[in-house]
């Protein structure tokens, strides 16, 4: 039993250390990692993500889009119900699959060329930004079904679109280091368990109990044996 616990603790420690170190290295001290610029092939006036593409909540994403220098561009994030209703009848490129840091599948959807209303006039964007030639928007990915949209404003299209994405996790670097520290502690516990040394006096009693066959016996022994047998057990271990 003690050996099994020791191995399991060491295993968890290794995983926690790997995840923690990876997180800390990936995010760095500014809690942020960036990918891009990446080109998206499109001749449509709109690029949107399908609702099931962004299936995670929590991190903060900063999206910077670049188009032709004279092209006005809008970038927004919204509930998928709003977004689908808004762009549903317009020619667009849909992102159908996405794997971080940057792997996209897209699909072109036919439709009209004009949106029913300018995107900046709408009140349901969770976050949005606009500019000429480029725009940068920051949004915390919410719990709700959600999509991102890049829209060419005032006619034109998104030919030459380039996207840079930055992922930010508040306190991510600290969490990574914390995980490493946690892993070190855990590994120490596992090592002690593997060595067969008692970690506390109570643990020593437990070790003896482990030699007894059943859990029920173990519980009973723990309460009954503690005051009288403790010194004997310790001396056994030392001899």
């Amino acid at each position: 039993m003690r050996r099994f616990v020791g191995i399991m603790l060491m295993l968890i420690a290794v995983i926690a250390a790997a995840v923690g170190a990876g997180l800390a290295i990936l995010l760095g001290t500014d809690n942020r990692t960036e990918t891009g610029p990446h080109a998206i092939e499109t001749t449509a006036p709109i690029v949107v993500t399908r609702p099931d593409v962004l299936s995670w909540a929590g991190p903060t994403v900063t999206l910077t889009v670049r188009v032709a220098p004279s092209q006005k561009v809008f970038v927004g994030a919204a509930n998928a119900v709003d977004l689908d209703d808004y762009v549903g009848s317009v020619r667009r490129t849909e992102v159908t699959d996405y794997r971080p840091p940057w792997k996209l599948h897209t699909e072109n959807v036919f439709g009209g060329d004009r949106l029913p209303r300018a995107p900046a006039d709408l009140d349901w964007w969770v976050a949005s930004a606009s500019g000429t030639g480029s725009a940068t928007m920051t949004v915390e990915l919410p719990e709700q079904a959600f999509g991102l949209a890049v829209i060419a404003v005032g006619g034109g299209d998104l030919e030459g679109l380039q996207v840079t994405a930055a992922y930010e996790l508040d306190g991510g670097f600290g969490i990574g280091l914390g995980l490493v520290g946690f892993a070190v502690g855990l590994g120490l516990f596992g090592w002690i368990a593997l060595q067969g040394r008692p970690m506390t006096r109570e643990m020593a009693v437990d070790d003896v109990d482990d030699e007894a066959e059943t859990d029920e016996d173990e519980d009973e022994d723990e309460t009954e044996a503690e005051p009288v047998e403790e010194s004997e057990v310790v001396s056994k271990e030392q001899s």
Binding site: M1, V5, W56, G58, V81, A145, L169, G171, G178, E202
Partner: protein, 318 residues
Amino acid sequence: MIRRLWVTVAASVLLLAGCAIPHPKDSHGVTKVAATPAVADAVYDRYRVVRKKSLNRLDPQPLTTVEGGPVLAIDAGKLTVARRLLLSDRPDSTQDLRILDVYAPRLGSYPLWFVVVVEDRVRDLTKVQVFQRESSTTAWQLVASPETLTSTELPAFALDGTDALKPVDPLRADRMTMSPQDAIDAYAATLNHPAAESQVSEDSFVTQMRKVAAQQRRVDGVTFTQNWTARPVQYALRAADGGALVFGTLNRTDRYRIEKGRAIDWPEGSEQKAFLSGRLYTTGELRYYHQILVYVPPQEGKPVVLGQYGGVVDGFGY
């Protein structure tokens, strides 16, 4: 001891994993809670402003941006009556409307809608109103506004795990005495055929409408007929007891046929006077909308009207 240590380790790992780390989204699919209380407040603030402007000018035009459907028709009718007759007592000209509760369903597509329960302190009434957004590019509009007495207790609304209203399919009875649409149809049938056995309660709405019709029939030299039809139900929501609250609209048409050689002079300040312009010699017709809030009970009992809002919307005569 080992077990305790084991539990502590597992709990710590789970705690760390759940803390600020990216996680899969909730499992509600592609849905949206139609409106948050903050959105409802903003929508209602705008509504108050525009409504006041409309009432002050006796002009229904501003209302078209914040009202739609039968409510707009009813309010435009009231303003038309006031303007044509230059009533000194403008309809509902002062307002002290306070939101008591906001309820919104979780919907998968447009139109989105939500319910507000509003206290009208001036008229000592409670309004149970529905705001709808037809599409993502249109504004929120008031589309139903039945009024109840403050003494009328509304059934508790059923809410899901996210405090969202549970909409009811208007065409399905689903553990109720009848479907929402059938309930509204039954009201139209009851008002059309007073002698027939009714599937709905003989409530104050039915009594009041029959009384109005009886008064019209008493006018000498005039053949009066009245016809009721039900419009399709769009908004129905589940009550906590398994019943449903249904927002229905009834069309009412009053027809007057005047005997040869006679004429009718409508009373000063009446809807007829405003819409049928003065003296009537041959025929006249007035159309009304009545929005009703109907409770359809689960299992047993007849539907009952909890509130209503209505008025003349159109008319002609010569």
